[in-house]
């Protein structure tokens, strides 16, 4: 793990180990705010800021914190960054802050952030931890944006606030409500798995230069979510 390259960190954060699509972490803000694509981006970038800050600080203090108290220490660090982001957004992007409202303080309990601090930043040097913070955050933002976009499109017939479908389109309100988030996420995960499988097959074909063998890459979704 210590020998991880920059390219790997970027790929992991954005795709192969995406906090939402692969690790299925951070479901609470995911389901809560992704009613529109814009909210998704706002929430994603706020979380990225917190991830970057907490990863950097956790990496800096990793040799001074006794193992037994590392979790409470990380939580304090994360909570501090969340409060800083909360106050800063309230001061300078007041309208977005109002839309996201309660979900900004809730970034504290986003286990994706503690997950990165514990699994990555506490074992890596500063630059790698910072890079991981940025790209895990962007991966999180990407997934929030996709889910927000799908729900906005199906649930209110708009995308980023612009009406896409005409009067004849009857929006499926369910997609705006919490159950719609689960349904949309399930289908998005299916597409993600499908793309992964295609990529794997293509890689194998390149390697062996022979007809692809059907791979069994399908992991049961329920097992991953638990």
């Amino acid at each position: 793990m210590s020998g991880i390259t920059t390219k790997q960190i970027i790929e992991d954060g954005l795709w192969t180990n995406n906090p939402v699509f692969v690790q299925l972490l951070g479901m609470c803000p995911l389901l809560g705010v992704t009613t529109t694509a814009e909210n998704g981006i706002g929430m994603g970038l706020a979380s990225t800021g917190v991830l970057l800050g907490s990863n950097v600080v956790v990496s800096l203090v990793r040799n001074y914190i006794p193992t037994q108290v590392r979790i409470p220490s990380y939580i304090i660090i994360i909570a501090s960054f969340v409060t800083i982001i909360d106050l800063t957004m309230n001061a300078y992007v007041h309208d977005l802050h109002k839309t996201l409202g309660l979900f900004i303080p809730l970034i504290v309990v986003n286990c994706a952030i503690l997950g990165r601090a514990e699994a990555f930043a506490s074992k890596q040097n500063l630059s790698k931890a910072a890079l991981d913070g940025i790209f895990s955050g962007l991966g999180f933002t990407l997934s929030l944006f996709v889910l927000g976009g799908v729900r906005e499109l199906l649930g209110s017939g708009q995308f980023l606030g612009f009406t896409i479908f005409g009067e004849g389109f009857h929006p499926a309100i369910g997609f705006i409500l919490p159950p719609g988030a689960f349904i949309a996420l399930g289908f998005i995960l299916m597409v993600v798995k499908w793309i992964d499988q295609k990529r794997e097959e293509a890689a194998e074909r390149r390697e062996a230069n022979q007809p692809p063998v059907p791979t069994d890459a399908s992991q049961p979704e329920g097992a991953a979510a638990s």
């Binding site: 009613t35 108290v69 304090i76 660090i77 309230n90 001061a91 300078y92 007041h94 929006p171």
Partner: protein, 206 residues
């Protein structure tokens, strides 16, 4: 040093540093947050109050307490709009306690003839895509020009004249009722709301 002391000291240091950083952030952002909130109120005020006032309504205020404005009986600020001394109207926030999820704060403006000049929802937690249409559409414009006597107060489902939304009746119903309560309260206390004095008025005894 024994392990447990080291743990305690580490946590203490982490906590102290975090506190210091947060205190500094709070100090830096306090003024901008205040300014952002003031601008927000001003924007809402210009949208609901009659056009053409030449005073600063956020500086010409009076506070009153009334059960009809909010159930907690917290003081409500009345922002008065005037033009060269004559009163154009007053804007104030009514809280509807019976929204679909939590309180809905509605800023309403009334002129001295007890006619509504504007209604704006300023804070709510209604369901995105359903109840929040009261903010995203021009639904509140229907209130303009209404008085206690010239409108049938209620949503269409209840025999009134205000539209509800497909899938969202509770939110408009709560808002219509709250606006009506605000109008009634204004009618009863018009004199003290619009008079130029600025000190708080004690709650009206019933």
């Amino acid at each position: 040093m024994p392990e447990f002391i080291k743990m305690g000291v580490t946590l203490m240091i982490v906590g102290a540093v975090a506190t210091a950083v947060l205190a500094a952030t709070e100090m830096v952002t306090r003024e901008p947050i205040k300014e952002a909130k003031r601008l927000e109120i001003l924007r809402a005020l210009t949208q609901v109050l009659p056009e053409g006032f030449d005073n600063a309504p956020d500086n010409d205020t009076v506070q009153m307490i009334d059960k009809r404005l909010n159930r907690k009986e917290t003081p409500v600020t009345f922002y008065r709009a005037r033009k060269s001394g004559s009163t154009l109207g007053a804007a104030f926030v009514v809280t509807a306690p019976d929204g679909y999820s939590g309180d809905i704060d509605i800023m309403i403006a009334v002129n001295p003839q007890e006619i509504l000049t504007g209604v704006q929802v300023v804070a709510h937690k209604e369901t995105p895509g359903l109840g929040d249409k009261v903010v995203l559409t021009d639904w509140p414009d229907k209130f303009r020009g209404k008085t206690l006597d010239n409108a049938k107060w209620g949503v269409k489902k209840d025999g009134g004249e205000f539209d509800q939304f497909a899938g969202a009746t509770i939110t408009p119903r709560a808002i219509v009722a709250a606006v009506k309560r605000g109008l009634e309260m204004f009618k009863d206390h018009k004199e003290s709301i619009l008079s130029p004095r600025t000190e708080a008025v004690p709650p009206a005894k019933k």
